[in-house]
Symmetry: C2
Subunit: 293 residues, 2 copies
């Protein structure tokens, strides 16, 4: 029997441990730090068994999944670099990839680190909110290292299929970070910036679906997102600044009473949105084939 060690049973780690149940001949071991998480994970049968001592499991672990925040992942790699089993596969789940791939260079040859980012989440955190179905039909982004083996990539694809991800996207850490600055980090910057408005509490009763949707992710973990933003500063600042410019452009057209200019901006964006929605539908159709990009 082979062994998967999941380090950190928060929302993502807990959900992964649950989703991995029954995967091939692997047993799933969950590493926790607090008694509270241990007890909740035990009550929910989140893993085959639980430990407070991940270091003891490393020599026997064929797959290690690091589900901490970026600093936790980087620290774990540095602290335990010589304890991993030869030929094992390590992967992480955090939202930046260049920084963790660089940290993984401390690992000895024969230990394969592949950066991963499940594009799944919730506005609430912790094992309480974990669920096996969290990854269903979401993207699983994978950034292999220079020496990653085809066997490990194939194993990751089987894991993704078992966890019911919608597809596997293989890319470079740099491209991941550039794309994620726009698709994910910018959405979080927007949500917190909207919720920082002094009018937030007085607007109760006037909110509709668009407000709930846009601000959903504002209740984020400040410490973790400070890390994520800081570790991707250049790419993120670029997309935030570009957004500021487009907002200003839209505002200036409204201020100037330039209805034709405003209408053509709205028509341009609306058309693009309709197009990308169509593409997503087509993407759904081909999901079972697990394509690359």
């Amino acid at each position: 029997m082979r062994k998967i060690l999941v380090v950190g049973l928060g929302l993502i780690g807990g959900s992964l441990a649950m989703a991995l149940r029954g995967f091939e001949d692997f047993e799933v071991v969950g590493a926790v730090r607090s008694q509270a998480t241990h007890d909740k994970a035990a009550a929910r049968h989140a893993a085959d068994w639980l430990t407070f001592y991940p270091a003891d499991e490393l020599p026997g672990a064929d797959v290690v999944i690091l589900c901490q925040d970026p600093a936790g992942i980087i620290g774990f790699l540095q602290e335990h670099r010589d304890r991993f089993k030869a030929g094992c596969l390590i992967w992480d789940v955090c939202g930046v990839k260049t920084a963790v791939m660089e940290a993984a260079q401390c690992l000895p040859a024969g230990v394969d680190f592949i950066g991963c980012h499940p594009m799944a989440g919730k506005e609430v955190s912790g094992i309480d909110n974990a669920e096996a179905g969290l990854f269903r039909n979401t993207h699983f982004i994978v950034t292999p290292g220079p020496h990653s083996t085809p066997e490990h990539l194939a194993l990751l694809r089987r894991i993704a299929a078992h966890c019911r991800f919608g597809d596997v996207i293989e890319t470079t850490p740099e491209r991941h970070d550039q794309m994620i600055a726009y698709t994910s980090q910018l959405m979080h910057v927007i949500a917190v910036s909207v919720c920082a408005d002094e009018g937030l509490f007085s607007c109760k009763g006037f909110e509709g679906g668009s407000f709930r949707d846009c601000t959903r992710v504002a209740a984020l973990d400040p410490a973790m997102w400070t890390q994520l933003f800081s570790l991707n500063a250049p790419a993120l600042c670029q997309v935030v600044e570009a957004l500021e410019g487009r907002l200003r452009q839209c505002r200036e057209a409204i201020e100037a009473g330039d209805r034709e200019g405003l209408r053509s901006m709205l028509a341009y964006a609306s058309e693009r949105k309709k197009q990308i929605d169509l593409e997503r539908v087509r993407g759904d159709d081909v999901r079972p084939s697990f394509g690359n990009s």
Copy 2:
């Protein structure tokens, strides 16, 4: 038998006509402009009967619901000001209230115009997407005129209950427009500004729930939203400019590597979001009482 005339069977008008089925002793008449909408509305039994000539129905209509865009509503009031039945109630559903309330001043005494705004919608439009359940648990905002009668306000509340709105919010047109600039129009400005980014199409495969949620409303009707934005320009420009400032502040903290400043911004907004979510849950609890604000 009394008569409700719904003018315009798009997403909102069509859904209202359907939701009003069986309301007290009213028959529901739907006024359409195109043969295509007529045929779809007939096939879906959207109203008790349909007409291409709303003017002919006005002398017998006890309630008239104007479901066009702002220009359509304002034009309809001006064109038909002398055809409404004495003592009737007219209300509209568009997203700005000051401009339509001003236009309604052309109506003769005894014809009661109440501005309304159902905080419901979809990212798709038209009778094809209409449904009786669209208003369930959403806010119904009401801006009475200076001479609106208690009887008409009570009638509107019974209509709101029948259509299963979550609550009725009574306010002034000016406050409505100020609040809506932030909770709704700003969300649409954000969505189109995000979708205007040159990186939109290349980000396929990297999007998660936050991106889908934030950009959902970008596929808007450019002509209608140009009207809505233009008719609420000062309030909207104010909130857009404030957002630009908060985005810049956040970006500057990231650029400067000011992790403590960034963390405290994120913590502030995150805490506010958690608080307002709690308030929404409490709001849900008291829904059946149909409170005011």
